[in-house]
């Protein structure tokens, strides 16, 4: 068994930024464990641009964005192990990992940062009836085939789900000469970023069919086609609207799930809404010294926010290792009407520096609605927004002064008020 001050699980954007931040806070004994054979995580297969606008004020591709952090990591000589799979974490921060060189390793960590990212929802989660042929891929798997391995998953493709990866893949495959027939979205709105709908579908005349879904899969060996149906307000297929669309591949972009198998092993409490750990303002989970950031905490739409959040986790893990105490009462943050979840779920006001960023997602599409923040049920912040959709992460910033002014604060609520659509 060996000891490390800080073990970071995952070397995607979250793990990299967390490591650099912890280093900058004076921690030197850092080990990053990564299961793939490269650093940068899923960014490596995101060859499109649009990354880093917030952080670097320029448009980078995924690998470029990752390389900024990887270069820094190597400058700082932060240690990492590739092709290393963490198979267990205990409540007391004992980490068991395995790789080809060293076999099973047991590491006691002073602090742990969970940065395992997320995975895609598979077909089974949708219960699409029909056969179970080959040719059905999650959009991310298809992205890996095309961008990293150089293989085409199909020639005539239907994409189910208008999540960002699905939209990006619609364009990517079109550029490879593949016939992308349509993108189907069961909801009356897309769950992807507006800019991706414009740049990936509209610019290439790929139809986006809202309130439509796949109701049957055809083909006994390789997929031969799908039945597409319109759905009603309750998302149930409307009889009589079925059309047959032939295809040799179906891509699914139907949601991402934080990968918290290891968090559960460490008895970290999971928020059923985000499927990520419950954390306080320091991004510390219910287990002391175990922090979480990035898509393992909640699914982000922009990598810039992942990096920012991870830097905070890195700093706080460093404080934990240096034994910086934090006294005072924890204030709970509630997701009120129209808000699906918030991150963090708790805040200790003593630890708020200049401001506390609270990130959240809305439950449905709101237009001309107001984001309301209440401290002990009294409004402290109101902001009108033209449009808010569940696909885009929202955030509010709560200044330190709001907390110092209210020493007996017990409860913060974020909710949405007023909606033209309602």
């Amino acid at each position: 068994m060996e000891y490390r001050d800080l073990v970071i699980i995952g070397a995607g954007p979250a793990g990299l930024a967390a490591a650099i931040s912890a280093y900058e806070q004076g921690i030197r004994d850092i080990l990053i464990l990564e299961r793939e054979n490269f650093l940068g995580g899923i960014l490596n297969q995101c060859v499109h641009n649009g990354f880093g606008l917030h952080t670097f004020h320029e448009e980078l591709t995924g690998p470029e964005y990752a390389s900024r952090y990887i270069d820094k990591l190597s400058d700082l000589k932060i240690e990492y192990m590739l092709e290393t799979m963490v198979i267990d974490i205990s409540e007391m921060r004992n980490v068991i990992a395995i790789n080809e060189k060293r076999g099973v390793m047991e590491i006691q960590a002073g602090a742990i940062i969970l940065a395992m990212g997320c995975r895609e929802r598979p077909r089974g989660a949708l219960n699409i009836p029909g056969s179970r042929p080959s040719g059905i891929y999650s959009a991310g798997t298809a992205q890996k085939f095309v961008n990293l391995d150089g293989y085409l998953p199909g020639r005539e493709i239907v994409i189910l789900g208008s999540g960002d990866i699905g939209l990006i893949m619609a364009r990517r495959l079109t550029l490879e000469g593949v016939n992308v027939k349509m993108v189907l979205e069961i909801l009356p709105y897309s769950s992807g970023l507006k800019r991706n709908i414009v740049q990936c579908l509209d610019d290439y005349d790929i139809p986006l069919k809202l309130s439509h879904t796949v109701t049957k899969i055809h083909g006994s060996e390789r997929i031969e086609g799908v039945t597409v149906s319109q759905v009603d307000e309750d998302l149930m297929p409307i009889p009589g609207t079925e059309t047959y669309v032939s295809c040799d591949a179906l891509l699914l972009s139907v949601g991402l799930i934080p990968e918290n198998e290891l968090s559960r092993k460490a008895n970290v409490t999971i928020n059923p809404k985000t499927q990520g750990p419950i954390v306080n303002e320091r991004l510390e989970t219910s287990r002391p010294g175990i922090f979480a950031c990035g898509n393992v905490l909640h699914v982000h739409d922009l990598v810039d926010y992942v990096s920012e959040e991870a830097a905070l986790a890195g700093k706080n893990a460093a404080d934990f290792i240096k034994n910086v105490s934090s006294e005072g009462l924890e204030v709970e943050i509630f997701a009120g009407d129209g808000v699906r979840y918030t991150v963090p779920n708790k805040v200790n006001p003593i630890n708020v520096e200049k401001y506390l960023p609270v990130r959240f997602r809305v439950t449905k599409v709101f237009s001309q609605a107001t984001v309301l923040v209440e401290f002990d049920n009294l409004p402290v912040h109101k902001k009108k927004k033209t449009i808010m959709t569940p696909g885009e992460m929202e955030q509010v910033f709560l200044p330190k002064s709001w907390f110092t002014e209210r020493p007996f604060l017990r409860k913060i609520t974020v909710r949405i008020e007023g909606d033209e659509n309602a």
Binding site: R35, E106, N127, P129, P133, F145, L152, P153, E221, R264
Partner: protein, 478 residues
Amino acid sequence: MYDSIIIGAGVIGANIARELARYDLKIAVLEKMSDVCEATSKGNSGIVHSGYDAKPGTLKAKYNLTGNQMMPELCRKLNIPFRQNGSLTIVFNQEKMAELEKLIERGIENGVSGLMILDRETTMKLEPNLNDAVVGSLYAPTAGIVDPFQLTIGPAEIAVQNGVKFFLSTEVTGLYKTKQGFLVKTNNGNFEALTVINAAGVFADDINNWISERKRLIRPRKGEYCLFDKEVGNLVEHTIFQLPSGVSKGVLVTPTAEGNLLIGPNSLPDNDKFDILTSAEGIQYVLDTAKKSVRNLPTNQIITGFAGLRASEKDGDFVLGEPEDVPGFFNALGIESPGLTAAPAIAVDLATWVAEYLRAQLKAEYIEKRVEYHRFADLSTQEKQELFKSDHDYGKVICRCELVTLAEIKNAIRRPLGATTLDGIKRRTRAGSGRCQGGFCSPRILEILSEELRKDIREIVKSSEKSTYLVGFDKDML
């Protein structure tokens, strides 16, 4: 000229092959699919029934009991995941408690041991997640759960190790009597044999009817299932049945031998022999019915759905042995539930009959043990490290959901009757059967298969010949 040809490499054909291989005979198994365990044997509940349900005096009752008794030993010997978790047949109103008494009587008549009626309190104590409306249950401690894939693959491997030849992708197209025995025509050439064993699942009636005047009719009944994440595999500990309907044992809720939660099946009669499609209505029925058994069914944890066919013969019982008019032709036909349980017992009798017919002698040497394989995920940390020392490929995790290593995948390809497809890898190692359903590991497994089999990656398939994954390379279409 073979002494014996077995048609079909499902759980029945594979187990018969293993038993028959004890004799000094030249044996071939013909299977039309690209792997063993590709039809009914892959799409079922994986239940080892206790045997109270079958009608006393039937072959189903007889072989259910013996199969159940053989299962623990067989699974231990062949390293097949099996657990004797017991079953509870639950009822929702007091009047129905009397029917449980009847089931006990029937069970006793069938020779089933340990059956008892439990009151509401005891039932709920055993299974706290059962629906509140439960008033009592029938407890069958000898019921169990088994991995149906391994129950087929294991015996098939033993058969191969003892000299049985498997011809995959070999579809029987005709069967004729000859002077000496039989001529079996296939898409892969002609075979001759002194005896033929018909274990062709839902198609066994066709094969019987080609050669015997004693006509048989299989009317497949389809069953649909939902499989849940291992996260909720402990929702119930026992296999939960509702009262049997007479036609089927109804929708069950059960842990699987591999630790998932499984619900299903419904029962759709007179199904097409090729149709294993799932339907929205079918899955909904399964969900609704399962919800009557358990509270808080975690439907957001479903990872896949599937359907299978029961090979129901119109007379309702198993059909075993030679029809009067065709000596040397042995049926194992109409093997529906409890067929999986019965398979090892059916195999013993069938093999004995064939051996007697051929006056065969037992071989001096018979290999009982499968070529070694390990389930890395199930080992302790220390055992993992030991295994790693023997082969560093155990340090390379390929399937992260089920923790399957490179060494296990290579082993699955290199062992007797090794995997050649992604489904083959999945059924032998569980790689790809977890919560991401192959999203992360399938690209890697395609590469490993391509390397190991020295095949172009575009030719690697999911199961059948046309079920390809990759259609070409980037820029092919530009």
